[in-house]
Amino acid sequence: MMAIFIDILSWVLLITGGAFGVIGGIGLLRFPDFYTRLHASGITDTLCAVLIVFGLMLQSGLSLLTLKMVLILLFLLFTTPTATHALARAAVLDGLEPKLADQPQASPSEEEPPSKP
């Protein structure tokens, strides 16, 4: 009984994860400019990965495989925001202007002298 319940839960997680991946892919194609596409890639990198990894973890139970899946999830969740930020920062420094809904004069401060954070 319990095993069937866990199996069904893991299927639901896997299928929704795959669905979010496809939605993110569609967003990657549909969003109008580079900065908005970063948000679409965010969907596929976060929720899709989290759901699929949780679903797979339920399939294997407590084992070395599950531990490795946890590590994969941790690596992904730590590295993807860093990569996304590096991309966005590089694009800003390169002078790529984001398309904005209003106040088109507001641009990120790429001309400021670098300050030490």
Binding site: L14, G18, L28, T44, D45, I52, V53, L56, A90, A91
Partner: protein, 95 residues
Amino acid sequence: MNTVLVATTLAIFLTMALALVRALRGPTIYDRIVAVNVFGTKTVLAVALITYVTGHADLIDVALVYALINFIAIVTVLKLVKTRDLAAEGSEDPR
């Protein structure tokens, strides 16, 4: 059980295909790098799924290493595109 895994793998492949379309369309170099980044993280998930479909537990190490290499590759490509020199010291955003 296997059908669900295979269906999810196919969904991941579809996402990778969509990312490839974006990588081909561009228009800026940064759009292409975002698409390649998505492609890379989806490769990790696809390899993890294939591990469970085939039952070869050793394959998971490939996914683990790919997750790390993908990040380094994206940052390296970004630096190469920006500075045309991998040995250049970063001048902006000092620590």
